[in-house]
Symmetry: C2
Subunit: 219 residues, 2 copies
């Protein structure tokens, strides 16, 4: 991570990483197929640190808004040292077909971890959640968190204060949205939104196959 932060992701080679770690290049490749796999290790570490950091707020708060705000702000706290790296790293991770994208199959482990935090946020809150939305809401909450991350990457305010305010506001909005799920007429829309994301994002379970792999001819 220190090399990545100093030289930038693009200019850091596996050779330099191996040298820095005092192992042979062959040895480095034995443990990691490439530098994108080192980033996956970094994602996993952030996810584990985050899970640890949210324990206290999730044990204390019972309101959905407070639980979600606490979880989002804990993420911003943990990510603070990596902000500069994130800015230059962003163009790699923004590509949903890159292994570095949070939506990639390679990022699945970190993603499942992160979604499971949102399950805890939702299931442990006193808000009642209709059964048909129990599975999809945590994934949508995680997607909203990815929106916050995108905002944070470009946030130049001191202490990323705007991102913290967005976390607060986003949590309030989400809590209101979830409370509206008591209206049955709304539920199909939530399911549709979720289906749209899972159909079009590559790492999601049901991502549509690449149509160019099939015979051509749009109807």
């Amino acid at each position: 991570m220190r090399l990545f932060q100093e030289r930038g992701y693009d200019r850091t080679t596996m050779r330099a990483i191996a040298q820095e770690a005092g192992v042979s290049v062959g040895n480095a490749y034995y443990y990691f197929a490439g530098k994108e796999h080192l980033i996956q290790g970094f994602y996993d570490r952030i996810a584990a640190e985050h899970r640890e950091a949210v324990r206290e707020v999730l044990a204390r708060e019972t309101g959905l808004q407070a639980r979600l705000a606490g979880v989002l702000k804990a993420w911003l706290d943990i990510a603070t040292p990596y902000h500069e790296f994130a800015v230059q790293f962003f163009k790699n991770a923004a590509d949903p077909d890159s292994p570095l994208s949070p939506f990639s199959p390679e990022s699945e482990h970190a993603r499942v971890e992160a979604v499971s935090v949102h399950k805890e946020v939702l299931y442990g809150a006193r808000t009642r959640v209709p059964a048909e939305l129990r599975e999809v809401l945590p994934e949508l909450m995680w997607l909203a968190q990815m929106g916050l991350v995108l905002y944070w990457v470009f946030d130049r305010t001191e202490g990323r204060e705007r991102s913290y305010r967005l976390a607060e506001r986003g949590a309030r909005l989400t809590a209101r949205g979830v409370s509206l799920a008591r209206f049955r007429a709304l539920r199909p829309l939530v399911l549709d939104v979720h289906e749209l994301f899972t159909d079009f994002l590559p790492g999601m379970t049901k991502a549509l196959p690449d149509p160019s792999a099939r015979a051509r001819g749009r109807a």
Copy 2:
């Protein structure tokens, strides 16, 4: 645009542009304060071409879904020649504080044009829209279009077929969402979502001031 496409945005200088256009560098700067202003001209041209291209579909279709799908697909058609450029240009435009961002004050002219197309889409459809949502929905529809643009930038399928399918699906989802606006309980949420975007995106009218400009000290 040819120079930008050949050399990339970062590596194209005003000097090279002036030379190519057969004018002096001083003369080039007389008309354009910098290359980011040339991009604004490009945005304006795309917006004007788009407005022209959607005329026919907006004259023919009365259903919101068909109108919106037609408008989104027309944009994908028009943007086709610029896809490669968009991929490398993306990292400049993705920063909401860059003048090249679709949310920047500099992009206001192109943005107002684009939002006005969505006003036509909505107001000319047979769907009834509650008065309190008339102003905010076209801006949210434009935001959704920006989501499609982001998806398109990274779409590597032949003929950007996935983006066309996302346009169709997004239009269907939007039409369903708008039809739910008949439920009064839902309207405050739509207004909240809109307020969140206008508060946090820099080019939007009410963007919050940078808090670091004020005295420090978070409560």
